[in-house]
Symmetry: C2
Subunit: 229 residues, 2 copies
């Protein structure tokens, strides 16, 4: 499969490396290719410069947002939450009816730490993206755990923990669940239509407190429920 | 220990029965004792009338809110979220500096199902209660799972799953953690000060989606993290 990953931060890089490892063709999308490649400093989140990461992952292509999108059969939104809707709207035509995996979280760092959410409760970033791109098959996924665990659940407890999908299109969700299983997720949990992205995104405030208490982002949750009869 | 439980619904009843079983003295508080005892119909949530439950739990006393509070060394807020602040403010004097375990969730059913939250993101019901009763030692706890599991974690997976506490007073949190352990919780997780109640309460939208998907409230989450080194 050909994947386009929008965003060159920690989440985009984790999926790009893992997808490449699994034999997929990956093009990462960025605002300004020359600028992204020229940067020699860690980004705002402390990740090493992209060019340094790219040297270790030479099979991954880098292109402008629209060009990357054109080359992807499935699109992954790994943009920062506060720019996601704006960027996706601009490249809306190229996304068309493709599956758009939305990993972004609507984190607002402007009011201090821990961040609040820029949208929640009566809507979600997943819903805003679906509204901005009505034809796209938006599937909220992966946003409830840290990037390293998203692409490699085996890092924790033999992979025995949970990941979610939310979206309106059953076929698109099946595509994303298949991807999750290829990463090692045993039984991805379908939360419902795209409005259930509110649940997945509103988990972040709890995630952030657990992260702070553990002083380690490498954790996840496992659903404990009686076996279905 | 003497407990006062404010609210006579499913959550209050579950804690009253369990605390009695564990040898504690329990007084439940209600707005109007005669009315609560006279009701012959299921309540709004489909629970059997209080009098019927009380026949099976005769050791539990029922009193008006203020009287019940006076009799409790530890107070449990098991009121519906939309009335909690108002009722607690009215009986504020009686609560004084006592430990106040806040189980309530700010669920707003006025906009349809699933309910939204009446407060979230930049505040929480736990914080509103702490602000309304500055002397009380408010500890948010138990609100992240269904009542039957709150008081008996052994119902699921041999009790190997997680419950949280949030609050400003370390001693009060230790009191609540001791109670949780007496119920069977193995290792209650301290989320931080009372602002971390936002995390515990904002888990509800995810909880509600999982509940809908499983068609069963009997579930919980287990934190999966590497052992601390």
């Amino acid at each position: 499969m050909k994947y386009a990953i929008l965003g060159t931060g920690m989440v985009g890089r984790a999926h790009a490396a893992r997808l490449t490892e699994l034999g997929h063709a990956v093009t990462m999308g960025t605002q300004d290719v020359a600028k992204t490649m020229a940067s020699t400093r860690p980004d705002g989140m402390g990740n090493p410069p992209f060019s340094q990461w790219h040297q270790a992952n030479p099979a991954v292509k880098l292109a402008a947002f629209a060009d990357a999108t054109d080359q992807g059969e499935v699109i992954i939104n790994a943009l920062a939450g506060h720019v996601a809707v704006e960027v996706l709207k601009k490249i809306g035509e190229g996304i068309g009816r493709k599956v758009l995996i939305d990993i972004s979280n609507p984190l607002d760092f402007s009011k201090g730490l821990p961040p609040t959410l820029s949208v929640c409760n009566t809507s979600s970033l997943g819903e805003q993206i679906q509204q901005a791109l009505p034809q796209a098959k938006v599937v909220k996924a992966f946003n409830t755990t840290t990037a390293a665990v998203q692409v490699n659940p085996q890092l924790l407890s033999n992979g025995e923990h949970d990941i979610f999908v939310s979206g309106n299109d059953a076929g698109a969700k099946a595509t994303v669940v298949a991807l999750q299983k290829s990463y090692g997720w045993q039984n991805p949990f379908d939360l419902g239509d795209i409005t259930s992205a509110r649940g997945a995104e509103m988990f972040l405030p709890l995630w952030l407190r657990i992260f702070a208490a553990l002083d380690n982002p490498l954790f996840n949750i496992k659903l404990i429920a009686p076996a279905k009869t």
